[in-house]
């Protein structure tokens, strides 16, 4: 019974979303939040929606794939900076490591806005626990793309999503 229950649960989890995918166009709204940036100023998401696509990348100074992904985000940022694409590098460093975020961002020459989600409340709000985690929000405030983890090449999908929003 135990094995049956486990197997069924796993099979359900795997096949179920196939049917759920039919509702792809049913986008969810991006939940609003307020976070401090590295200058101590509040950033509110809702005040920035509609000014262009928003790419949020949750990262941490101790997260190796995050640093690899942010290198690619820098490249994408430079390519789209003049097309009103907003990049937010949201650090989930906790109180143990948050002190190094500022110097880390400077030494790695991050050109985008860096926000601090020190108690991981915003990454949780966006339904993840672990970085790197990328979320793209369109001009209407809809979440159009989410992705956990980073493999070299994943950034091409991010670029595709940005282009799609810009074309619309």
């Amino acid at each position: 019974m135990k094995l049956f229950c486990l197997s069924l649960a796993i099979v359900l989890f795997i096949i179920g979303p196939v049917f759920a995918q039919e509702e792809e166009d049913n986008l969810t709204k991006a939940p609003d939040f307020v976070l401090e940036d590295l200058d101590g100023e509040n950033y509110r998401l809702s005040e920035n929606i509609g000014k262009g696509p928003i790419v949020m990348n949750f990262w941490a100074t101790w997260c190796v794939p995050c640093i690899e992904e942010l290198k690619q985000m820098k490249r994408i940022y430079k390519k789209y900076a003049e097309q009103d694409v907003q990049f937010l590098a949201i650090s989930i460093d906790d109180p143990k490591t948050v002190a190094r975020v500022n110097s880390f961002a400077k030494s790695h020459h991050y050109p985008f806005k860096v926000l601090l989600d020190t108690n991981n409340e915003v990454i949780t709000l966006y339904q993840s626990k672990v970085p790197p985690y990328t979320v793209i929000i369109d001009n209407d405030g809809n979440v159009t793309y989410t992705h956990v983890g980073y493999r070299m090449g994943d950034e091409k999908k991010v670029e595709q999503e940005i282009k799609k929003i810009l074309e619309n």
Binding site: A9, P17, F19, Q21, P31, D32, N42, H108
Partner: protein
């Protein structure tokens, strides 16, 4: 029978919810599911745990909850066997305020006074069940809260009340204070609080916090000081941190019939470099905020986008001058080409038991736009202090990434330590990303026991041999 038909029905209902993409008019549904299953063949035991978070939002309102089961929980966890709704909340959010009733997490300052948080890897969850009010403004932020925190066995403790006020009178300056009051079973009514301040300039930033606790008897009163700062000049950056924690471990360890149940209210900065390399992570300091003082200095030099050199040193002593932890570490990150990168590092860690000499190296080569080879090599020489016993630990991880769908990894560890039962641990892992929002990890093989530390909080994970499965999805 650990998994009953009732469990199956609940699980199926959860499944239906988690795979539905509900959005009716202005009602939105958000959620995620985290499932872990493992079978340890050494002790012929399986573990099966699941957490489902669901929330619905309508205009300014959000309502949500968590259903979890542990049938049974992992051996290193303090959760107990069982299932049920573990969290529920109702939240109202307006322009400058958020009001929450139910379960929530909170952080005051840098965690000297309060840090209620979840870390699933450590099986740590100290959420508070009560009410919380947040106010945000350009010149002032504050939070007041009251509720019962969860201890490590999942029980609710005495109500705590508190608040934090953060004033920003000038663009470059913020000042504030925080306060907590509660009743501890072992001490009666107690209070603790802090004052803090921060400065932000174009060339650097600073933060300082000083905390006091008022516990009976008076001799148990304690203090905690934390100061941290960054400065930048051209390609150089420097990070400095200092701590002095004296009788400030806000953990209640004894409670009625179950002395193993703990509740830790705070989580001050550990002030050392946190390593994700497995061998170095195993020997990081376990924080003791009752008697600890120390510093961290870290220098970084950036060679444009080509390379970054980091030099780091940290030291922690007790108030009698006894060395608890010391580390020297240097690292270079080198990106000779956009598709090729290397990291090399070396350092010494020393604690009261042993000295560890570490060498680490990683390399990554993307041979097409979507295919990447990676390696991680860790080498550690250990010298035990009291008997001069010496041995090596080594780890090698080889992996192949195919973006965005999968990663295949081979993980090996070898040790010459004569006091361990085995000298070789071998495992294989596959990570699969599918259907947009699903991530599956399957590990098979053996893994060595050891501490896993995150920010001074460590758990001891026992040896493992078997199969492990983790499935995460968001909706």
């Amino acid at each position: 029978m650990l998994i009953s038909s009732k469990c199956l029905v609940i699980f199926t209902l959860l499944f239906l919810l988690t795979t539905a993409n509900i959005s009716y008019g202005q009602i939105q549904m958000y959620g995620n599911n985290y499932l872990e299953y493992s079978f340890d063949s050494n002790i012929d035991t399986s573990y099966f745990e699941n957490w489902t978070d669901l929330s619905l939002s309508y205009q300014n309102w959000r309502i949500g909850g968590r259903y979890e089961f542990h049938l049974p929980p992992q051996a290193f966890s303090q959760d107990t066997v069982g299932q049920g709704i573990s969290q529920r909340f109702l939240e109202y959010q307006a322009k400058n305020l958020t009001f929450t009733v139910g379960n929530f997490y909170s952080l005051f300052g840098r965690g000297l006074v309060l840090r209620s948080f979840e870390n699933r890897m450590l099986r740590w969850d100290t959420n508070i069940d009560g009410v919380k009010f947040d106010y945000y403004h350009d010149y002032v932020n504050f939070q007041v809260l009251g509720g019962q925190p969860r201890d490590r066995r999942g029980r609710r403790r005495e109500v705590l009340q508190g608040g934090i006020l953060n004033l920003k009178p000038l663009k470059f300056l913020n000042l504030g204070g925080s306060f907590i009051t509660t009743r501890l079973e072992s001490k009666g009514k107690v209070h603790w609080g802090s004052t803090f301040g921060g400065l932000n300039f174009d060339w650097g930033s600073f933060y300082g916090e000083y905390a006091l606790k008022d516990f009976p008897p008076t001799m148990e009163n304690g203090t905690a000081l934390y100061v941290g700062g960054n400065a930048y000049y051209d390609a150089f950056t420097i990070l400095m941190e200092y701590k002095d924690y004296d009788q400030f471990d806000l953990t209640e360890r004894t409670v009625n019939k179950d002395p193993s149940s703990e509740l830790t209210y705070n989580n001050p900065p550990a002030v050392y470099r946190e390593h994700l390399y497995t061998l170095m992570n195993r020997h990081q300091l376990v924080q003791n905020a009752n008697d600890e003082m120390g510093y961290l200095v870290e220098l970084t030099y950036s060679f444009r986008d080509l390379a970054i050199l980091t030099l780091s040193h940290s030291r922690t002593e007790n108030h009698d001058g006894l060395l608890l932890y010391r580390e020297y570490y240097g690292q270079i990150e080198w990106d000779p080409r956009y598709n090729l990168s290397f990291v090399g590092g070396s350092g010494e860690q020393k604690d009261q038991e042993a000295r560890y000499l570490n060498f680490v190296g990683t390399g990554k080569w993307s041979f097409t736009d979507y295919n990447t080879f990676k390696f991680i090599l860790e080498h550690q020489h250990v010298k035990i202090q009291y008997n001069d016993r010496q041995f090596y630990n080594q780890m090698l991880t080889l992996s192949f990434d195919r973006s965005p769908t999968f990663t295949l990894s081979l993980l090996t560890e070898h040790s010459t330590d004569q006091e361990t039962d085995k000298d070789l641990w071998l495992g294989g892992q596959v990570d699969i990303h599918f259907l947009e929002n699903f991530d599956l990890t399957i590990f098979g093989g053996s893994r060595r026991e050891g501490k896993v530390c995150v920010g001074g909080i460590c758990v001891f994970r026992p040896p493992f041999e078997g199969i492990e499965l983790r499935l995460i999805n968001r909706f």
